[in-house]
């Protein structure tokens, strides 16, 4: 059976998995990441909500983890803004507000507490988004929540359309590929900037763009800009995922994408290998350390004995026995109630797992 050897194998490429991989890779470890599909964080572009962690949960490493994550996103070209003490009210396509502590820069300007006049811009023919609807709901909810921003709806028309209607994904692809399209979009937005302080667009500013492209666009427009995550596929989130993955690949992290983990070989109190369901025969990835960060539905990989984790995020049984000493759990899998684990928890546990592994040094780093 063929195997690939790593200092660390991370299962899952959500916020927790990517952060863990980055933390270990930054310490010089040879890291392999196994994933199938995007992490759930893409829906909301990885925003960290202000209300996620209860005060008694706040652990000492949190500040460090957040700092690391912000640095990671900066290097990846999609920097996060904000901090743990921030509370920004960012709009959604439902016209509600999310209370956000940290968000990618292209969402961060949307704070509803600012006393500004913001234009929600719709695009003629764009499906699943209605600026007028969002505006009405945003104004209503802003009044209800004592937020100062007032919203107006605007519609622009673009000469380039893929058909009679378009999706944000199609527009984002165009944004990536076509400078003329970017120029046209900018020209269409310009008149709106004259009587508003902020442009709010449905998320469409590219899947492969980053700080450079979007800042250029914003500068040319000469008006602050923010995006709204839309129904999936949500462009701002996919952009973030693409950026971090691209950065990690460049940093030497090896991705094994597209095949689920079939089995984690547990033997003698250690995780011997991670078996990927590759075509023809399973691919065995051997990691000195393994981090499982593939969401709530991967709990069965840990076996029926799995009950919780110890202080080092190692899975334990009900009686407290460690299931595998070189295995760590991060992200949504740590949440007993199921569902989205929360990005703050993902950053914290991903970072902690990655760092505790990095603390062990790495044998395969030399290559």
């Amino acid at each position: 059976m063929e195997s690939y050897r790593f200092d660390l194998v991370v299962v899952g490429a959500g916020i927790a998995g990517l952060t863990a991989a980055a933390a270990a890779a930054a310490r010089g470890l040879r890291v392999g990441v196994v994933n199938a599909g995007f992490g759930l964080f893409v829906f909301g572009a990885g925003c960290v909500e202000s209300r996620q962690l209860l005060p008694n949960e706040a652990p000492e490493k949190l500040g460090e983890a957040i700092e690391f994550f912000c640095d990671l996103t900066r290097r990846a070209g999609c920097p996060f803004r904000g901090g743990l003490d921030e509370r920004r009210h960012l709009p959604t396509i439902m016209g509600s507000f999310q209370t956000i502590a940290l968000a990618p820069f292209y969402l961060w300007n949307g704070d509803a507490a600012a006393q500004v006049r913001a234009a929600v811009v719709g695009i003629k023919g764009l499906s699943s988004f209605d600026a007028q609807f969002a505006t009405e709901r945003l104004n209503h909810n802003a009044r209800r929540q004592d937020l100062n921003t007032s919203y107006v709806a605007r519609e622009i028309e673009l000469s380039w359309m893929p058909g009679t209607t378009a999706t944000t994904l199609q527009l984002a692809n165009r944004f990536d590929r076509d400078a003329d399209f970017r120029r046209e979009l900018q020209q269409a937005l310009e008149p709106i900037t004259r009587d508003t302080d902020l442009i709010i667009l449905p998320g469409m500013l590219g899947l492969r763009s980053g700080l450079n492209e979007i800042s250029d666009f914003e500068r040319a427009l000469d008006c602050p800009l923010c995006e709204l995550p839309t129904l999936p596929p949500s462009v701002p989130g996919v952009r973030l995922s693409n950026a971090i993955e691209r950065y990690l690949r460049k940093s030497g992290v090896e991705f094994f994408s597209g095949f689920p983990v079939r089995k984690i070989d547990l033997d003698g109190g250690r995780c011997q290998a991670v078996q990927i369901d590759a075509p023809a025969r399973p691919l065995r990835l051997v990691g000195d350390e393994v981090i499982l960060a593939s969401g709530q539905f991967s709990a069965p990989l840990l076996g029926a004995e799995f009950f919780g984790v110890d202080g080092w995020l190692r899975p334990i049984t009900r009686s407290g026995a460690v299931i595998a000493e070189n295995l760590h759990v991060a992200g949504a899998l740590l949440r007993s109630t199921g569902g989205h684990g929360g990005n703050e928890r993902a950053i914290l546990t991903g970072y902690r797992a990655g760092m505790s592994v990095a603390g062990q040094g790495g044998r395969h780093a030399a290559e």
């Binding site: 829906f43 396509i93 999310q98 209503h140 009679t164 999936p232």
Partner: protein, 540 residues
């Protein structure tokens, strides 16, 4: 005061059938429904158009009725029927003597049936278990109950009848032993009103007892809960029955893109607030796996429960749900209870709804001195589609979307075609699972629709929007925007409607077994609960 001749209470298949029958006889009528059409037992069944095979051994009379009625419905409403045919499969674990009894009873009842070998049966339905002994064919079919109800109402409305959804009857006013009028309350607006009438027909199904009580009359109805599982795709292409005495979970019906397994049988206090507990779901699934073993791996989309309204007059004794006759009863309360102008039609089953309407209307017609006889067994429920419009639809829509729209809309297809002609962006497919266009959604939301909609779920009952794998997660939002854009709802109303819709869809999935649908549900929660901070009251 507003007035009409006949008021029908209850917008299930029977009430709708009565409305249509009366309109063909030229008798003015208004149908009042407390929610939307097919909200009760009609909308919560398999959608099996019984050939009669299921009842043939136990109740040959009912079987004969089914055989006749299902043939009529195939003729008058072909657009509602998917004539799949059915199989009665002989399983080795079932009583072999029943097979012969079934076969000879079919001959007696005039139900066309042929024996097929096990190999041939497996050729027809490869998902059947390999150890079956053989099977019989029968003319079972699937009927889209929502379409059927809607078509009856639409046809009646076109002839001047009235239909009001979300209109709950609050009182039946009786003076001098005669029905004089009905009070109603619009449950959405709170608006109240009174309609004068000569006759009230109680077609309340599970609510029939409650309706009758308003007229001071007791109509004993027992509600027998049946729960059904919706599976994501067609595991079988024809109706598969287990050839045995009717029991739990022994029918699987291919119902459009999904298939439906049912049912259980359990007496419940009333028709409201029905849920299926996890054990009940597991029980159904276990039996379903006996029927079709691949079901063990199949995805359950949702679970729903309906209440069969069984008429239980005092002399019926203490029989349980399946023992009570599925036959119907027409009660003339003038003779029974000295209330002139009040009639109840209770019991029965969806397949015989037309017959139930016929006998009811015969009685009403004689009461009112109208001597036109019933025409519903001959008169098509819907006019054919203009072939030129159908061709045009195929030019402007993808093949499958055009075929679906044609089947669903019939002559109304012209409105869709014209709307897209005028505004090409309306060709957008809003519900991907069921290929519903924005044009169709805006049409059913609009004034031209003869059976108006009020909620996103109502749109679903007209178009199947939200009935597919995503269970409204993606299309619900777009339907909400359509309602807003077509000025049907204000932003606040639209948002409220969407929240209610999500609630209902999430509820239907809350007991699905572990598997992909649970993941789908979490996806929906993540999106609208976490990401949009919009809706977080329910947890799966």
């Amino acid at each position: 005061m507003e007035s009409t001749q006949v008021i029908i209470v209850g917008g299930g298949a029977t009430g709708a059938g009565i409305l249509w029958d009366l309109s063909l006889r030229g008798i003015p009528a208004v149908l009042l429904e407390k929610k939307d059409l097919a909200n009760g037992a009609t909308g919560r069944c398999h959608g099996l158009l019984h050939s009669g095979g299921r009842y043939v051994v136990k109740d040959p009379e009912a079987a004969r009725e089914c055989a006749v009625e299902s043939a009529i419905i195939k003729k008058i409403a072909p657009h509602c029927v998917h004539d799949t045919g059915g199989l009665f499969v002989r399983y080795p674990q079932d009583d072999p003597t029943f097979f012969d009894r079934w076969e000879s009873a079919c001959r007696g009842a005039g139900i066309a049936s042929e024996e097929v070998s096990a190999d041939d049966a497996l050729g027809l339905e490869p998902n059947l278990p390999k150890n079956i002994l053989g099977a019989y064919t029968c003319p079972d079919a699937h009927v889209d109950v929502f379409q059927l109800t809607r078509s009856n109402i639409a046809a009646a409305v076109a002839r001047g009848a009235g239909f009001r959804a979300y209109c709950e009857v609050t009182a039946i006013n009786i003076e001098d032993g005669r029905v004089r009028s009905v009070d109603y309350r619009d449950s959405r607006t709170g608006e109240e009103g009174r309609i004068a009438c000569e006759v009230v027909i109680n077609a309340g199904g599970g609510w029939a007892q409650k309706v009758a009580a308003m007229a001071g009359v007791d109509v004993p109805v027992r509600c027998d809960k049946g729960s059904l599982l919706v599976l994501n795709h067609n595991l079988v292409t024809r109706v598969v029955n287990r050839c045995r005495m009717p029991g739990d979970a022994d029918i699987l019906v291919p119902a459009g893109p999904v298939c439906i397994l049912g049912t259980s049988s359990m007496t419940v206090p009333g028709p409201e607030g029905l849920t299926a507990a996890a054990e009940e779901v597991q029980h159904l699934l276990d039996l379903g796996i006996e029927l079709i073993p691949t079901m063990a791996e199949a995805r359950v989309l949702r679970i729903f429960s309906g209440a069969r309204p069984l008429y239980t007059p005092k002399n019926a004794g203490g029989a349980g749900g399946r023992e009570i006759s599925r036959g119907y009863a027409l009660l003339d309360h003038a003779a029974l209870d000295q209330v002139e102008g009040f009639v109840s039609i209770v019991g029965g089953k969806m397949t015989t709804y037309r017959l139930m309407a016929e006998v009811t209307c015969d009685l009403i017609a004689s009461k009112l001195g109208v001597d036109r006889s019933c025409e519903t067994s001959e008169e098509p429920l819907r006019l054919p589609v203009d072939p030129r419009i159908a061709v045009k639809a195929r030019q402007i829509l993808p093949a499958q979307a055009a075929a679906i729209a044609e089947r669903r809309l019939g002559p109304d297809l012209v409105h869709i075609v014209n709307a897209i002609d005028e505004r090409p962006e309306l060709a957008e497919i809003i519900c991907e699972c069921e290929q519903v266009t924005r044009a169709e959604v805006e049409f059913v939301l609009g004034d031209q629709a003869s059976v108006p909609v009020h909620t996103i779920s109502d749109i679903g009952r007209r178009t199947r929007l939200g009935f597919g794998p995503c269970q409204g997660t993606f299309c619900g939002y777009k339907a909400m925007l359509s309602g807003y854009r077509s000025r049907r709802w204000s932003a606040a109303q639209a948002s409220d409607e969407f929240e209610r819709f999500l609630d209902e869809r999430w509820k239907g999935q809350s007991f699905v077994p572990q598997g992909k649908q649970v993941e789908q549900l979490y996806l929906s929660h993540d999106l609208f609960g976490v990401t949009y901070n919009f809706h977080d009251r329910k947890e799966g």
